[in-house]
Symmetry: D2
Subunit: 490 residues, 4 copies
């Protein structure tokens, strides 16, 4: 195959060098179409995890589960699958694996039979003391079937000595550290929980008088549900036949949601913490243009995630916005795959230069983030091969200098270009005529603040600043990242 | 499944009501990676046909064929498939079925063993006398294995009494009517042919000194090949070890390429007949704004094909361009399917309103064409549900009032909204506050002309004008469209 | 895998070295369950071909076809497949490929649209002048889509100038040579034909007043149909609403059916030419015991085809019959596969020695035939490894010294052990203490004759005698066996 | 489909009304081809369970697992699967589900990570207090991921407070009741255990100096391994680098192996407890003939399991043995399926009458057992339809009057024909001219005893006698058989 030339610019994958979120969650209580609504909600959240999906429903008598590797639309659009998920309550999960192998037994929601009845849990986030807890559990005689940190939560619930299931659940939450947005289903309740800092998102919606918990508003929009409010940081909500009840089992803390939801993860049509993601991204482009607009003929967005910032940049700078890179929509099923080998193989033929807008022009490429820089250099070369006179690269977020441990799949720190290179070195690496990033203060301005408040920053932003807001217990220990002693392919 | 409500606006498919092209073709002569290049070329041409794909290669001893239902990337990205296609020459084909069922035996290229050696043919277009010819062939004892009109060409070649294969091929061309761009492979030659009016496109490219024939320049770009020239109307080119030779077996006629390649089919980064498709589409938006720009707050393109015209419209009208409709990129394999039933089932959850850009605003929706109007009314309703104050609908092409018989999959005439409704009736049907189409003269102005020359129009434009440039022999006869007496599912 | 040791006796495949028939046919006229009956009939005939199966049905308006690679039970037990085959008449075919690649377009029944209406044909046998005819047809402008000799018959029908379809069919039969049992379906008729010598079998049955044509009586038994009579050699029967009509278009000849149907191919519960196959095989064992019973302790049949002869041998010789070799019934789908590679891979673990019946004993192995001898030597070694004191090998048919050209998949002559080795050399090759074959006269005695009548032999028996009953036209010419110039995998 | 007539005798499944064993186990220690040997061993044991199979191997660093639904040969004949199972030790399991749904998470071997290292377990048998133990474990905070009773053993091991893994394992064995043959793999040991009465079989073999544990000798024969001895009742063997060590952790009891291994389950070429299964079955036929041989013309075995007894019956009675029923070997993959629906659908067309041996004759049908009698009545009718003058039915085992709880899949007691009908009622039910069973004493005589010793019976024979040799704890409690609250399809 001609693809063996890894530098062939006409066949590059602009998504290969982005960050990846691991999960989306959805739960609904008391609706006759619970499983179908969950499937649609998961489909709207597909950008948060493409590797696997699962739904657990509950009818009067028992729980029902369907879990599949692959896209929601590939499996849960089948009416027979939905028919195997009866009941008026359901929770669902999209998975992108940060921890644990890609095997079916890791696909969430996970389920445990408890003395007081069963419980299913779906989790977005990452626990920073999961390995430490897991080691303790195994020592105490627990059997771990998956390699997922979600199972740790279930074991903590199972081993709690409190009689009520909700007390057991709160007990378990008090032992875990890190970032999480959880939805859990018991025979009579739908439970939601958000970590004490509210790092991962969780919102409350309503459809036909039924409550919904999910990661983003776009999962409400797809089914015509109303947005009610964001779940607060450290809040546990219990939805049952008696309505909704809220607990605050943690000491009060100021919320610090993850700023990357705005920069990259959330869908542009979602509203996060009260702000339109699309508007915020346009603002990032505006701020970026104010900080570093070059003289140029045309603004070219890196599709598709660079488009809103490029519109903002164009409007602020007055330089015309053009689709200088065309995306091929037909790429089969190979879009995102867990192994590097598969990525290289089939994923390359996705974008091409729109020569008529590039040749002989000074262009400004606008992208939302830069991780390793490996695709950025290919795209700069693609622009030059298409005849660009000058290529200026602008990033609508600050340099990513630190790894994440809260559920974002970042490379090891030494592979982050900005962690090991100066700005000029980065410019040379990607081969642009100029390179500029949005400043951290510019990012906060795009969010509506004066700048970053060093003492009380409004967001979790360690990737740009190194300021981790929770202890990193597992990292401190000598525990290997992969504890499991068994390997299984599928 | 909740999808049973067919009017649910949050779950509509903007591509369900567009026209569909039937084919893309590609051929290369004398290159060691002939099959791999063909696979990449077909992938770049995937927008021209998603139902099936095939490649036939030729090595010193024999022909090799691989034909598959589904996308190019799903099958021909597999190195083992390419390895089964040895040889330095190959032709390939993407199929969207206008004639004939979706079964493997209809997938092109088709092949026939001839007395003088075998011949494989791939065809983009539609013959307007295929059924008439087919009936005559069957009467004479020919056995038709497929229901494709391409097989008719092969039979005409097989039955010609001329000794040289190229003379047989030219003989066959003289019997067929309609639109075609053909690539054919014989043991020692690659042949290309374009119909006497040049309705369907065919271009000549070059890579590493080897000649390439294909439908669009984007198939050259993906492999880094150079564009040489368009094949002329009525031209037959013969590529062999002795280089390239050109025949003109028809009486000279003025070229009339299909204008729909510019309006909808060709990829925006392709250059057709010397013009950038992207630029032409932006111009259509500019002309449309000149003719009918309303007072409004925001221009919203129908993704993705309405984007270039919306950029032009925004620039000419001064109204800001915003992504008011967001496309969900994760839709599994169900994007385009041959039966209506399958379309309804799995294809719906593709777009959503970006409420922050719509609510409380006067919006202008810009689309490239309107066929039945069934999705347009859904999108207008989606905009109103998202809170739009006014919804103005603008089409960057004239009303489609006539069916096509040259390879575009148009509905029967009575199902074309513009064929049976006045402008005001159409506005009411789709529920917009105002509706306007680009004029036919405006369309020609966007192409660089003063307007349409009624006596000598530069393009085949019967869909807008009813001016069919060739006889429609089959239509005149009483032959049923589907002649085949055998049904087979796969 | 441990299987790489090709000589491992505990993992051998006793069916790897047998002859293979190529086809079974079935047709029914005027029954409401035509396709389902055909599927059941083909299932009963599965032993005649396991590679592919197909059914064509006819309702009032058109033909319907379903063709599949694999076993009948794997595909045609699906009610949805049967539902796609409406109509009151149907024909079907099981394929074992002697000519042509294993690709879907070679799977029968084949179909052609004719001027007078369509015709589907299913064929058991082999034409000895197919390649010669095919070359002439291609020269005359015919296009061959398959590499099957059945297509030649269809072309001859299509090109005949006679107005009535039955006359065209008879015309075609007059041009072909070799062995055939054909069933054909036209819009209003079911046609059967048997070659002038009656080499391949074809019988007439009846169910609920409807006529059935098929290869063996077991296909009647499975659906509870009655056997009516064997179709005569050189007879053409036409079944229509007017009942059944018989033609005899050839000069009268004495019948010479293939003796291998009795020796190996037909199912033991079938009655062929009025004789029970099971009884005949027992008689072969009786004759064999009369000719060459050794002193021994136990008779061990090679399962399963050696069992009837072993019972006869045991009864005649008085030596007890025991299951000394046990068949493992669980071998997945890998039983018979077209390539040698696949055979080696997964097919081996099928039989094991029943040590308690072998150890310390003098055993007589009874098998129905010996082709290459490669599995016979393995089985002798398996017996010795299990502790046999003496191993005597007895074959219930004469030495196979000549290849077949009438539809039996025999190896090239030089690979037939008996064609190149003396009896003593064969004994040494397989490592037995003694070896004996049934004599040709013994074989005829088992059939109820005095012996073989050299001047007017009652059966086609060239494999044992070299006496080919028809011209071998293709063999005389220089035509390569594989004419097709195109290769396609599936 | 014509199959809707459930009584159609030509399409019946003789295996639909037999008892089913649940499992076969295999383990090997210290061999370079450990996984491949295990795959071959499981293939030889395929008759003990066809629903799923799994292998766990151990190399220096970790465990590796592959588990699949379907036959061993369908999945583990693939070299790539074996390559994913590196290491010199492995255990494997064939499953027929008596407890727990057919889902991948129930497929054995099961695995648990323990504080002292991991442990994988494969189990043949059934625990009679598993549900009681499971309820206690869940109350104590354990999470059960499967619905298999094997997981209970793993939890007991995990929760034991003993430091050494072997002591934990023995502790666990002391808590369980019922029948079991276990093989377990730890990082450095292969462990085998057989229940205190030795109800389920487990034997020790040897290949190239390496120890093997498995269910039957046929699994040794397939790989050329030597039989060493049967594991004793209540024995635990530990195989490690230091050789083999034997523990006897239970109070001494006399062995009582399950007599059904001889009657039906074990392969005829296996040697169980020192006796050839084939010989024992022939003896059962001999004893049966002594007890109840009628005047008749022919002995017809029900294939394949009735054959050895029929040979014995024929020899003792002097009535000739003939294959009066022919098995069709081509039945696709549908042979045994877990749901009744699937069984009915595709499994029917398996046997046919060999009319030439039946018509006009007095026949004796010999079968190995009678459960519900539903297929027996079909086969009697099939014989009569084929023209039998008299049909005498003989069973080579006593009437089955009691259900099993030790790993044999028996129907509820009220569905056992012999539990609710007199001999004469049974004869009328199946429609035979006479009916007789082997007596219990006759069964013991066939095993080499004088008869059954009521005080100290040598075998577990409750199915014939109601004499259950262990407490049935779960049955006494009110626990529902299916405890799991979650349902999942695959």
């Amino acid at each position: 195959m001609i693809d063996s030339d890894d530098d062939a610019l006409t066949t590059l994958d602009l998504d290969a060098d982005r960050l990846h979120e691991e999960c989306g969650v959805f739960g609904v209580y008391g609706h006759p179409d619970a499983a179908a609504l969950t499937a649609l909600g998961l489909h709207a959240l597909q950008h948060r995890g493409q590797e696997a999906a699962g739904i657990v429903s509950r009818d009067k008598h028992r729980f029902h589960a369907e879990r599949r590797l692959g896209l929601v639309g590939d499996h849960f659009s089948d009416a027979r699958v939905i028919a195997r998920l009866p009941g008026r309550s359901a929770i669902g999960h999209n998975r992108y694996s940060t921890t644990g192998e890609t095997i079916l037994r890791n696909v969430q929601p996970l389920f445990a039979e408890l003395d007081a009845g069963g419980m299913a849990v779906a989790h977005n986030g990452n626990l920073t003391n999961a390995l430490t807890l897991r080691r303790e559990l195994v020592r105490a005689g627990a059997i771990c079937q998956s390699t997922s940190d979600t199972e740790v939560i279930l074991h903590l619930v199972a081993q709690s000595r409190r009689p009520r299931i909700i007390d057991r659940f709160v007990n378990a939450l008090r032992e875990i550290e890190g970032a999480y947005a959880l939805v859990a289903l018991t025979p009579k309740k739908l439970i939601g929980a958000r970590d004490p800092l509210g790092i991962r998102p969780l919102i409350l919606g309503e459809l036909d008088g039924c409550h919904i918990l999910t990661s983003e508003t776009c999962a409400l929009d797809i089914i015509g549900a109303k947005y009610v409010r964001d779940i607060e940081n450290g809040e546990v909500v219990i939805i049952s036949e008696d309505g909704i009840q809220s607990l605050k089992p943690f000491p009060p803390q100021r919320m610090r949601p993850c700023i990357f939801e705005f920069v990259y993860f959330a869908r542009p049509d979602s509203v996060v913490q009260g702000q339109s993601v699309y508007e915020v991204r346009k603002n990032m482009g505006v701020e970026l243009a104010r900080e570093s607009a070059p003289e140029a003929d045309v603004i070219v967005p890196i599709p598709d995630s660079g488009v809103p910032a490029a519109i903002g940049f164009s409007r602020e700078s007055g330089i015309p916005f053009e689709l200088g890179i065309i995306r091929n929509h037909y790429v089969g099923r190979t879009f995102i795959q867990p192994t590097q080998g598969v990525r290289e193989l089939g994923v390359r033929m996705k974008h091409s230069a729109n020569r008529s807008q590039i040749a002989g022009k000074r262009i400004v490429l606008v992208d939302d983030s830069l991780v390793r820089g490996t695709t950025s250099l290919k795209i700069v070369k693609m622009m030059r091969d298409a005849g660009a006179k000058e290529v200026h690269f602008r990033l609508a977020c600050p340099p990513i200098t630190h790894s994440d441990f809260y559920g974002i799949d970042t490379p090891e720190r030494e592979k982050l270009l900005a962690a090991t290179h100066t700005l000029e070195e980065m410019r040379q690496f990607i081969g642009a005529d100029s390179l500029a990033f949005l400043s951290v203060d510019g990012l906060y301005r795009a969010m509506g603040y004066e700048g970053r408040d060093k003492n009380l920053p409004e967001f979790t932003d360690h990737c740009f600043t190194g300021d981790y807001p929770t202890p990193l217990t597992d990292l401190a220990g000598e525990t290997p990242r992969q504890l499991s002693l068994i390997a299984e392919a599928s």
